[in-house]
Amino acid sequence: MENDILLEVKNLCTYFSTEKGKLRAVDHISFSVKEKEIVGIVGESGCGKSVTAESIMRLLDEKNLVSYEGEILYKGNNLLSLKKNEMQEVRGKEIAMIFQDPMTSLNPVYTIGNQIVEGILTHQKISKKEAKQKAIDLLRFTEIPSPEKRFDQYPHELSGGMRQRVMIALALACNPKLLIADEPTTALDVTTQSQILDLLNKLKDELNMSTIMITHDLGVVAELCSRVIVMYLGQIIEIANVEDIFDSAQHPYTEGLLNSIPHIDGDRSKKLNVIQGTVPTLDKVPVGCNFAGRCQYATDKCREVEPELKEVMDNHFVKCWNYELIRKTNKEENEIATPY
C-alpha cells in the first residue's frame, strides 16, 4: 500500500517576507496523493490552497519572497532540496499545473500549436514534425473539434472553455504523473464546467494520472474528488474521503461551509447557515485554534491551546478539540432530517 503514494507533503510551511514581518501562509501541512487519485483542496480565499500548489511546483520567488520548511516528497525525492535546473526537469515532465484564468496563462502572440510543441521539445528529443503530430493528438484527446485547424490559431480566437482545454493539452504534453489544477473551472460557465470536469476524470481513467484539485466549490468536489482536504488560514483542518466529508463532517468549519451553500435540490424555505465574522489576516493569527473566534462550539481551551490534526475514524483526520460533541449534535439533527 505504501508504494502507491506519488506525492507526500510533510510538515510543509511556506513563509512570506513582507512589510508586516515573516508571515506563515502555509502552516505545517501534511498530506499525500496516491496514484490515480483525485484529491480536492477546498477553502475560502486566503486559506493557503493556491500557495500550497505553488510551493509544490516551487513557482514562488524564492530569492526575495518566500522560504520553506518541511519536505515535499515526490516519488521519494524531496522537491525542496532540488537545484533550479533539476526542478525544471520535474515541472511539466512529472508534475504539471493548470490555472484559473486560461486567457492570461497562454501567450497571446504565439499560436497554440507553437506553444504545445515548445513544451514537448523542452523535455523530449523528437523531431519537430513528430512533435506537431503529438500536439494535434493531444488537442484531439482534449476533445477540441478540428484540432488541425486549431493548431494554427491564436488564444484570442478561442473561447474560455477551449482555452482551458488547450491548457490541459499543454499540461499533458510531457506525460506528467500528477496534475495540479488551481480553480480550473471557476471562470467558466456551468455547461462548460461540466465538460471540463469530465475531461479531468478522463485523465485519471485513461492516463492513470493523479490530480490535486484546488477549488472553493464543494459541488465540484462532490463531482470529481475521492478525498478532500479542507484548509483554513494556512492549516489543514480536516481530511477525509469525499462521502465522509459530506455525510459526517467533524470540523465546525467544514460543517459551516457545507450548510452555507444553497443546494440545487435543497429546501428553499430554510435560511442559509452563516459562519460569523471573517477570516483573520495572516499577521493576526489567533492563539489556540485558528477557527475559535468564529466557532459556535468554541470553549476556553480552544482559545488557548492549538488542537492537533488527529485521526478520529478510519482515514478521517480532524483538527478540533470538540469533534465528539459536534458529531453528537449532528447525529441528533440527522435523525430528525430525512436522510439521503
Binding site: E44, S159, H216, A222, I264, D265, G266, L272, I275, Y340
Partner: protein, 321 residues
C-alpha cells in the same frame, strides 16, 4: 398580484464598427424580450455569460439606451422618458452591482457615499440625512462608528452590504441585483443572501435578481426567466422550473450544475459545442445548433413564446403542454 413593471419586446442591438468604409455588424444582445415583474416578488434572470441578462437589467435603468421596446412602470413607458422624468424613476429603481470593490468611491467615507444619493434626490436637510444614514447602516448590520470609515477598511461582504444600504436609503420599489454574490466567498455569500431576504420583507421590496449560479437563483427567486443568446427561452415558478424543466436548454443547464452530494447520481445532458457568437446568431431557434432534439422546423423558424395554463412560458417548437 399587481405587476410592478412590464417589459415588452425589449431589444438592444449594439453596432460594431469594423473600420472605415466597412459594413457595420450588429450584435443582438437582447432580442425581443418580454416579461413582467410583480410587486413584492423576486424575479430571477439566469443564463451563461453573454446571454444578455446584465444588459437587460441595465436597460431598465436606462444605463444602456434600448433600441426598441417598452417598459411600463406606473402606466408610463420609462424607456421614452426624458432625463428629468427618469431621475424620479431612478429613485424607485436602485441597483446593486457585482463587484463590491469598484462600485464604492474609495475617496469618500461610507456616510458620504450613502448621503450622496439623498442629496441628489433633495431629500431632507443635513441633520435628517445623517440620521437616515445611521439608521440604514444599522439595518444592514453596521454600527455608528462605521459612518466615518472608508471603503478600503471593509471586506468584500461588508462592502456588498454597504452597496445594499446605498440602494435601500432611497426607499426604492425595485432593486436590480446584478450578480450581487458571485464575487464573494461561500460563507460570506450566505450572509448577503440572508440579508437580501430580510430587507425584502422589512422594506417590502421587489428584486430583479440577475445571476449565473443556478443554486443561488433557485434559493432566492419566486419566478425565474432563463436566457439564452438574447432571448428568454423559458419562464416559470421556481419549483416548477426545477422539478420539470421543459425547454431543452433549461434541462441541460440544470443538469450541468455540480451535484450536491457525492452519492448522488444525476443524468447529465451533454450539450454539443459552445454558445454561438451573438454577432452571427443561428437562424430559426437560437438554440438549435446545440439542441439534442432539434428538427427541421427549429432551423428555419423562430419559435414563439407560448404561455401555458399554469402561467409558464416556453419558446420551443417541440414542447407540448
Amino acid at each position: 398580484m399587481q405587476p410592478l413593471i412590464e417589459v415588452k419586446n425589449l431589444k438592444k442591438y449594439f453596432e460594431i464598427n469594423n473600420g472605415i468604409g466597412k459594413k457595420k455588424n450588429v450584435v443582438k444582445a437582447i432580442d425581443d424580450v418580454s416579461f413582467t415583474i410583480f410587486k413584492g416578488e423576486t424575479y430571477g434572470l439566469v443564463g451563461e455569460s453573454g446571454c444578455g441578462k446584465s444588459t437587460t437589467g441595465r436597460t431598465l435603468l436606462k444605463l444602456i439606451e434600448a433600441t426598441s421596446g417598452e417598459c411600463i412602470y406606473n402606466g408610463k413607458n420609462i424607456l421614452q422618458m426624458k432625463n428629468r422624468e427618469m431621475a424620479e424613476v431612478r429613485r424607485d429603481f436602485q441597483m446593486v452591482f457585482q463587484d463590491p470593490y469598484s462600485s464604492l468611491n474609495p475617496k469618500k467615507r461610507i456616510g458620504q457615499i450613502l448621503e450622496e444619493s439623498l442629496i441628489i434626490h433633495k431629500i431632507g436637510d443635513k441633520n435628517s440625512r445623517t440620521e437616515m444614514t445611521l439608521e440604514i447602516l444599522k439595518k444592514v448590520g453596521f454600527q455608528e462608528e462605521h459612518y466615518f470609515r472608508y471603503p478600503h477598511e471593509f471586506s468584500g461582504g461588508q462592502r456588498q452590504r454597504i452597496g445594499l444600504a446605498r440602494a435601500l436609503i432611497l426607499n426604492p420599489q425595485l432593486i436590480i441585483c446584478d450578480e450581487p454574490v458571485s464575487a464573494l466567498d461561500v460563507s460570506i455569500q450566505s450572509q448577503v443572501i440572508n440579508l437580501l431576504q430580510e430587507v425584502q420583507k422589512s422594506f417590502d421590496l421587489t428584486y430583479l435578481f440577475i445571476a449565473h449560479d443556478l443554486s443561488v437563483v433557485r434559493h432566492i427567486s419566486d419566478r425565474i426567466g432563463v436566457m439564452y443568446l438574447g432571448n428568454i427561452v423559458e419562464e416559470a415558478q421556481t419549483d416548477e422550473l426545477f422539478e420539470r424543466p421543459l425547454h431543452p436548454y433549461t434541462q441541460a443547464l440544470i443538469s450541468a450544475v455540480p451535484i450536491s452530494h457525492p452519492k448522488q447520481a444525476r443524468e447529465k445532458i451533454k450539450l454539443k459545442g459552445e454558445i454561438p457568437s451573438p454577432l452571427n446568431p443561428p437562424s430559426g431557434c437560437v438554440f438549435h445548433t446545440r439542441c439534442p432534439y432539434a428538427t427541421e422546423i427549429c432551423q428555419s423558424q423562430k419559435p414563439d413564446m407560448r404561455t401555458f395554463s399554469s402561467g409558464r412560458r416556453v419558446a420551443c417548437h417541440l414542447v407540448e403542454e
